[in-house]
């Protein structure tokens, strides 16, 4: 048998072993050992309320608890379960959430956690004191007040019902801090660690590693299984792969590329398990609505109709981080677009020739029958921006457009988008939980991230209505309308392909389930080592 065939077979076996069988069904958890993992970035500060990077979540989430969390065994990453909240009730009008806080939970300094600590942490997120930043304040505009009437009760009152509230309160960023500490110094957590999570802080050697050890007083008795963990900071991707290949590290929780996955599978065979999931990250194409001819929806639709997404998925998924053809929600999650519905949107139908004929007709109708030339601005990051950009240009050429790609240095990219200094540009979004209320606000007319500057009151209204719809079926219906308006009728943006998360890890790492977000499932309380 030839070598590529052998690699392919090994890959299939490994993929099956890792993804089809749930980890929990394979063995019984055993205690002990140190999990060593790679983190491609590093925390700028220690305060999750004011940071945006997974470089903080990966090494530090094991030190903290949140009010709710996303079920660590749920592959969709959309099921809220209690963390510090033992149980909760929602009032009939959907405006009052009452949480019962667990008793006997201790901070790592030995003090008891009460509802007062939860309230103080949420106060800091919702109304940060002067000089303190909170990046998530705007995600909770529905909240009217938070209160802790007694030591075990935490109450959230809303201004209007919001169907995503429970998931929003499961945010991996909303670590619970100690009220007394915050009262003395609201910036204390920027440089210090004291949580109630499954692991206690041991050491942070800047630029090198982060170490945590088992919290023997963790509220969930029997957990965590690990004696501790060590996060090694490695920014170079070749060095990350070498670390796993040389078994100096067991896992990297963000993602590897398909080529890196294949090289690890080829080198380590059965010693490696691969978990894959659609990723809650996506590149979309922003078209400046105030610049001609992109002020014409026929031109914008033509740009979407030109794309053969299914063929693109087949080939691009072999070389870069993208895979699924998807709508406004990650495939496999509760509000994802059913394939039959998806195929009705402009550029999502299976008949590419028909789509492109329609694109040419629209261009003709818009007064540009022979196509036109424009510059497509792309971000200077190799994966997946570069291959996606090349693919887009090729697809647009098929309908007679002459597109030049201009690569902008990564750090100068967002200022360029904000200035609106483009005709057509690659845009990007990445969420921490798959939830329409968290993923879609960027498309509102007033959003800072609405780089194409569209003004669409229908979109604004549909967004608002879906968020307040308490019946999931009604919400789905509204979301489909939103999607049709955004991607088809008005074609405000062009979605490319959903990112695909690839986590190859040593097979001895058990109890960790991939989700669509690299911000989730990092508390490590369920993780154990089989050897």
């Amino acid at each position: 048998m030839r070598r590529p065939a052998l690699v392919l077979m090994a890959l299939v076996v490994v993929l099956l072993s890792g993804t089809v069988l749930p980890a929990s069904a394979q063995d019984k958890p055993r205690s002990g050992g140190e999990l060593v993992f790679v983190v491609p970035s590093e925390p700028p500060s220690y305060d999750a309320h004011q940071e945006e990077t997974f470089g903080l979540i990966h090494p530090m989430a094991p030190h903290y608890s949140t009010l709710l969390r996303v079920d660590p065994t749920d592959k969709t990453g959309t099921k809220p379960v209690g963390d510090l909240a033992e149980s909760w009730t929602i009032s009939k009008d959907g405006l009052t959430y009452t949480f019962k806080i667990r008793s006997g939970v201790k901070f790592h300094d030995g003090s008891d956690l009460t509802a007062k600590d939860v309230k103080a942490s949420y106060d800091k997120i919702l109304n940060p004191p002067a000089g303190v930043k909170s990046l998530r304040k705007t995600a909770y505009t529905a909240i009217a007040s938070v209160d802790a009437p007694d030591a075990t009760t935490f109450v959230v009152k809303l201004k209007y019902p919001e169907s995503s509230m429970l998931l929003n309160l499961s945010s991996p960023w909303n670590w619970i801090y100690k009220a007394d500490t915050l009262a003395k110094d609201p910036k204390w957590y920027e440089k210090n660690v004291n949580g109630t999570g499954p692991f206690k802080f041991v050491e942070h050697a800047k630029g090198s590693h982060w170490v945590g050890k088992k919290n023997a007083d963790y509220w969930d008795k029997g957990k965590p299984y690990l004696d501790g963990y060590r996060a090694i900071f490695i920014s170079n991707s070749a060095a990350q792969v070498a670390a796993v290949r040389g078994e100096r590290a067991m896992i990297q929780f963000r993602s590897f590329s398909p080529a890196e996955r294949d090289s690890l599978v080829q080198a380590l065979g059965p010693k490696i398990t691969v978990q894959e999931s659609p990723w809650d990250c996506l590149n979309l194409v922003a078209m400046h609505h105030e610049k001609r001819p992109f002020d014409d929806k026929r031109v914008r639709r033509a740009l979407s109709l030109a794309l053969d997404r299914y063929e693109g998925s087949k080939h691009l998924s072999k070389i870069t981080l993208v895979k699924d053809v998807a709508g406004i929600q990650v495939p496999g999650t509760p509000y994802a677009t059913p394939p039959a519905e998806l195929e009705k949107l402009a550029g999502y139908g299976r008949d590419t020739a028909k789509n492109r004929a329609e694109a040419r007709r629209l261009l003709k109708e818009a007064g540009v029958p022979d196509g036109f030339a424009f510059t497509f601005k792309n971000r200077g990051i190799p994966h997946p921006y570069e291959p996606l950009g090349i693919w887009l240009i090729d697809q647009w050429r098929q309908i007679g457009l002459n597109v030049k790609m201009e690569v902008i240095e990564a750090s100068a990219y967002h200022p360029m988008l904000k200035r609106g200094d483009f005709d057509v540009a690659m845009d990007f979004q990445c969420g921490f939980i798959v939830e329409p209320d968290l993923d879609l606000p960027r498309f509102l007319s007033t959003s800072d991230a609405n780089y194409g500057k569209h003004k669409d009151t229908v979109i604004d209204d549909l967004y608002s209505r879906q968020g307040r719809a308490t019946d999931p079926e009604e919400r789905k219906k509204l979301l489909r309308q939103f999607e049709k308006r955004l991607l088809d009728e008005e074609a405000h943006v062009v979605y490319t392909l959903q990112w695909n998360r690839v986590i190859p890890h040593l097979s001895k790492v058990k109890g960790w389930t991939i989700t669509p977000s690299h911000y989730l499932n990092n508390q490590l309380d369920t993780v154990w080592l089989s050897e």
């Binding site: 700028p44 945006e52 705007t138 050697a205 800047k206 630029g207 090694i232 920014s235 590290a249 990219y413």
Partner: protein
């Protein structure tokens, strides 16, 4: 001699000021800034209000000349401020990495000197023999191969052949010499080989030149032993240019192992440089450039002293 040293020392100050000025201006020409990078993150959803507030907090909203004066006032007091990315004092950030970079530089220098001087001398003494040709091939190969490439080959060889990888985390020598050497010997070899190639070529040509001097012929005519001629007369004089090369390479290694440190995942000054550029951490970047410039200037100063000691004619000029 004292006058000579004072003159050399005073020349360091305008050089450092020039470096500070050029550095400060050039890094601000690069598009993007630390705040934009930090808060644009993965989704770029942070409001402009937060970004503006953060810029004001770290002083990026002030005119560039004002930022420069504030920074220079700190530099004069040897206070480089805090990192714009982590908020930690700059010296703390650098101190953590400096020990590792210094150790790699020292080890690579030892590797280079141990290889270069005997090989260069041998090559000169056995000019145009198979020994000379072999040494030349060895040194030209070293010059042709980038040290980071050699590093990648070393890592792959260890992974594929020995199924082993050096430790990923730095352990100080005094904590565990074996762990420390197991991690640092490989970059030292990769860098030291290239470094030795430069020094070998220099030693060979300097020796060839010196061996043709009249005083060597005189020494031979006096009937001095070859060993004495070499050690007492030839080598000492041939060492001047070699010393220059070795010293400048040493200064370069303090902050110049940018790619090699990434390949071996060494938490050194080179890697910190890359991170500072990637994060647009102006204060850290400025301090690092001043550190490297300072290293070069100090090494040059020490070289001047060594020159004056090795060749008394220099100090009397």
């Amino acid at each position: 001699m004292t006058k000579y040293l004072i003159k050399r020392f005073l020349l360091m100050l305008p050089t450092l000021f020039g470096v500070a000025l050029v550095t400060f201006v050039l890094i601000r020409v690069i598009p993007g800034d630390v705040v934009e990078l930090r808060y644009s993150g993965d989704s770029g959803s942070v409001s402009q209000e937060i970004i503006d507030r953060e810029r004001a907090r770290i002083g990026l909203d002030k005119p560039v000349w004002q930022q420069f004066l504030t920074w220079m006032a700190g530099v004069v007091r040897l206070d480089f401020g805090t990192s714009m990315w982590t908020g930690a004092p700059i010296w703390e950030e650098i101190k953590l990495r400096f020990a590792l970079s210094l150790q790699v530089a020292i080890m690579a220098t030892i590797v280079a000197v141990v290889l270069a001087i005997p090989l260069g001398v041998l090559s000169a003494l056995k000019q145009d023999t198979w020994i000379d040709y072999s040494v030349r091939v060895f040194s030209i190969a070293g010059l042709a191969m980038p040290s980071f490439w050699l590093g990648i080959v070393l890592i792959l060889m260890m992974l594929v052949v020995f199924k082993w990888l050096p430790p990923m985390v730095y352990t100080p020598f005094w904590v565990s010499p074996t762990q420390n050497l197991a991690q640092l010997i490989w970059p030292a070899l990769a860098v030291g080989y290239r470094y030795s190639a430069v020094a070998t070529r220099m030693t060979r040509s300097a020796m060839l030149e010196v061996l043709r001097e009249d005083y060597i012929r005189t020494a031979r005519a006096k009937g001095l032993m070859q060993k004495l001629i070499l050690s007492r007369h030839a080598l000492k004089n041939a060492m001047l240019p070699v010393l220059t090369v070795v010293a400048l390479e040493f200064a370069f290694l303090i902050g110049g192992l940018v790619v090699t440190e990434q390949v071996f995942n060494l938490n050194g000054i080179g890697l910190l440089f890359v991170q500072a550029v990637a994060h647009r951490d102006y204060t850290l970047l400025q301090a690092l450039i001043m550190l490297v410039a300072g290293s070069f200037i100090i090494v040059n100063f020490l070289m001047d002293i060594a020159y004056a000691w090795l060749d008394p004619r220099i100090r009397y000029r």
